[in-house]
Symmetry: C2
Subunit: 330 residues, 2 copies
Amino acid sequence: MQQSTLKKLSAVLGISISTVSRALKNHPDIAEATKAKVRELATAMEYEPNHNAVQLRTRKSNVFGILVPSVDNFFYDSFIAAVEEQARLQGYSVLIMQSRDQLDVENANLHLFRKNMVSGVFASVSIETEDMNAFQKLSDQKIPVVFFDRVPELPGYHKVCLSDAKAARLAAELIIQKKKKKVLGLFGHPHLSITRMRAASFRETLEKKAPVPQLSIDYPEGIDKSREVCLAALRSSDRPDVVFCMGDMILVGVMQAIHELQLKVPEEISVISISNGLFPTMYNPKITYVETNGGKLGKLAFSQMMSAIRHEPFPEISYLEADLIEGGSI
Amino acid sequence: MQQSTLKKLSAVLGISISTVSRALKNHPDIAEATKAKVRELATAMEYEPNHNAVQLRTRKSNVFGILVPSVDNFFYDSFIAAVEEQARLQGYSVLIMQSRDQLDVENANLHLFRKNMVSGVFASVSIETEDMNAFQKLSDQKIPVVFFDRVPELPGYHKVCLSDAKAARLAAELIIQKKKKKVLGLFGHPHLSITRMRAASFRETLEKKAPVPQLSIDYPEGIDKSREVCLAALRSSDRPDVVFCMGDMILVGVMQAIHELQLKVPEEISVISISNGLFPTMYNPKITYVETNGGKLGKLAFSQMMSAIRHEPFPEISYLEADLIEGGSI
DNA sequence: GGTGCGACCTATAACGTTTGCGGGGATAAC
DNA sequence: GTTATCCCCGCAAACGTTATAGGTCGCACC
């Protein structure tokens, strides 16, 4: 047995295709009696409208695109999971693409989104992204775009962000409060606004409020690089007494370095991180961190998207609050 | 400017739509000169065939469905990432759905796959899955299904698996070799074949080869449950001298328990795990584990899928080798 | 000058929907 | 009995492709 179609339903009932179509859409032109009959048969024959035909006809797809640098990452995962769930509840599907932080892949993906006529796009831009042309094309086609996490710094785009400045500030303030003297701050790729905002806020807080802030900052990439940078710092003559990690992967590298040197946390070295939640709880003692919750961000982004689709007004930027979760690492 | 279509191209060139269509497909009926002109204009006007129209016409979609219990999980992530990448290289897209281990959601998702006329489905079944009817429906529609990780135990389905038996055996053998006396084995949901195979092989290896195997087995679910179970065992009068963890989440729970009791690894308690790779390296000392690589499994699954699509013969089950990665935890 | 053939192109009918418009029949109004 | 008014419903044309089944032309052949 093949898919059942409007045509087949209409043949069985002896009424026209258009009547069947309208009946299923609860069109006022159709008599209640016929609607009932149609609906009954439709469920009996397991009728499902053909997506492609509908989209071809109506030129809209009920599919959202999500563009992330990489999908194997706790933060993006929880974001995606949240969006996907919300979307499903509202009858949408989700198309996930990875830019792998390469501009050409990113553009190819955005192109695919256009081709598939997605109803909207959630995007976290790649490291290489310089201009917004590719995204602009989407907007030109009235496809709403909501940026998250890694967002463009220009105005005119909708974005949902962790409050990066606040997250970094919270960490810095705790460092001050704990009277740490020499700080090593490790951040991600300096090209990303998220990095710049966190770094700026972190530095500013320390420099303004701390009595004797000795701060060095680096931008390692990935676990291994973070491990090396941290190892070098910890081996130097006057090693830092606290390390701040901008994200989970950096934290993992830092902890590997600390383990390698068999340093005691927090007695010999303190650690504080920004994280999505799981990793800091894996260490002993648990790492004190500022939480950035991908799932919550996903829900926020989705609600913004729905506002955009319904043409309701909503703020250009929304922030998600940041909370400090105390472990025992500082 | 809207999408350019065959019709527009044909209008500009003054030739018929069908000629344009065939020219772009390199049909032998079309003169080389015309082909050249058409191709030129097509790239100039950025022509892209309309997905929906093509699919409506040809009844195939070039989209693969991936069904996993949950997307925020390192193992599935790397699997998905691998499949997605391969798919993209071959001009396919990927539709990802989460069953959240609920049967109704799983069925709804499979239904969506059918509706979207996916070219194939990769599936890791949910805990609740009892029968294969929903999957059978796909096969009936000639949609190939490749199961991975959590696979049905019945014959007649294509599946790619980690060699679960071997992975568990490797761990058990190391335990024997290290002359451990009292073993605590922690496994996942007993309803899943992956769990049963690992547990059976683990138990069998220990019982057959070990001189004095004292083995207790439990099936905790999630981090917290694992932590509790492990905590209870470690507090008992004759505590185990080694804990085996079937997966990453169990490992995290176990390590939390060990940290809580401030036990020294491996002096006071040994740990060994099956893992996708990252987590065991986060501890100090690093955890010894048998590697199960989601990325490799993804590639394997994809190649099986392509064979199925091309109607090439391929084995019903393929296994991915398991390797022991030594840490210092046993 | 038919006939046949190859090379090239077009017309047309689908695929399954949605939708503007028009029409038939019944009832009410005059 | 004619006209207006509703309420239902059907016709047919799209949406952008692909595929089948023709054309049309020029040229060679006996």
